[in-house]
Symmetry: C2
Subunit: 204 residues, 2 copies
Amino acid sequence: VEGLSTTSLAILGLLSIRGMSGYELTALAEISVGHFWPMHRSLVYRELPRLEQAGYVSGTHVAQERLPDKRTYAVTPAGRTVLDAWLAGPGFGRARYRNEFLVKFFFASRMGPDRLRELLAEYRAALELELTELGAVAKKTEAIPGALLGRLAALHGVRTREALLGWIAEVEEALEADASGRGVIAGPVRMARPARTDPDEERR
Amino acid sequence: VEGLSTTSLAILGLLSIRGMSGYELTALAEISVGHFWPMHRSLVYRELPRLEQAGYVSGTHVAQERLPDKRTYAVTPAGRTVLDAWLAGPGFGRARYRNEFLVKFFFASRMGPDRLRELLAEYRAALELELTELGAVAKKTEAIPGALLGRLAALHGVRTREALLGWIAEVEEALEADASGRGVIAGPVRMARPARTDPDEERR
DNA sequence: GTTCCCATGTAACCCGTTACATGATTTT
DNA sequence: AAAATCATGTAACGGGTTACATGGGAAC
């Protein structure tokens, strides 16, 4: 509940499936939670000893011959407790999106219309790539009986990409229609403070 | 193209609309690019002097009486050059996406079905809030003639949220079917590990 | 037989977030 | 008169990314 980052909780969650080394954990994360919560190897390697220090996982040195020695980790009862407390607890941080394409798009009035069309084409290509990738993940889990949640999580990504491909078409139409008045917000912009409607939001 | 982070480029872009202080810039960012590229005040205050050091913006001290003195910034010709070079250049970083809800969802086999339904309800509420917020942004720009790109960017967010509300319905159906069919909500994906070529790996 | 990839990590750096600071003005 | 907000910033902390290291297979 207190002090553990989402990344650490995700690590605990993955270790709750089975014990493994940092390397294996990273690889597993990359094809599962990594789609909506990326974790780089270095981060995992930093967090694992911290979790061990805190008593949430226990590590074991494993000697190997043809490969470098490794350290495998397993969740402790205390670890399971915090994991389940987090899962049972309410709330979650608001999703964070960072989209560099949209930044370029927003300032597209500084580029020619040809370049803008090109940019949109690049974005479409990127989305289609992600779509087939996520589709493959979803498809792969179809056969597996215990993979419902994983498949649905992949579908989350599929649905957004599909919607965005639709958005591109919408944009192309709009740009076609209004070939003249392109530009960002013009004139003085009054400052708006965040609408203080709900008091909570963002836990931890 | 060289060395400048997307955040810095976004700052340059906003300053290209008109010169302003860090405070104003932050406020403007919050209601524009902040929806897809968040920039906290502190970051802006750190980047602005850096950009000045690099010669991309020029700052001017402005004394004020009833308010604290401020420093306003304007893009230099060199700044415009790098901004336009970036816009003209190809590519953009793949969109970054972090969703804590999905992490919980992925490990939902460790929670009861009631809690899972609750979690989905929370997510729906969050999405609906974001949707009305973004809808308001899109609506506000409808009157403004030069705000086409801004409105379309807001629509990008609208479309994804709409799609995700649909996803929730889809999930609820799937869970309903699963619960009646198999009696138990399935566990997390048991993913194949990266191909192991090592025979003396320990088994469990 | 070099060159690339695997499996395992460590170290440094930078970006982003949270907390701290402050005098004037508005609200309760 | 106290409390909140405005309009400015600064400082510290920690999460996340990139670069560095390494010895043995696999591939060309």
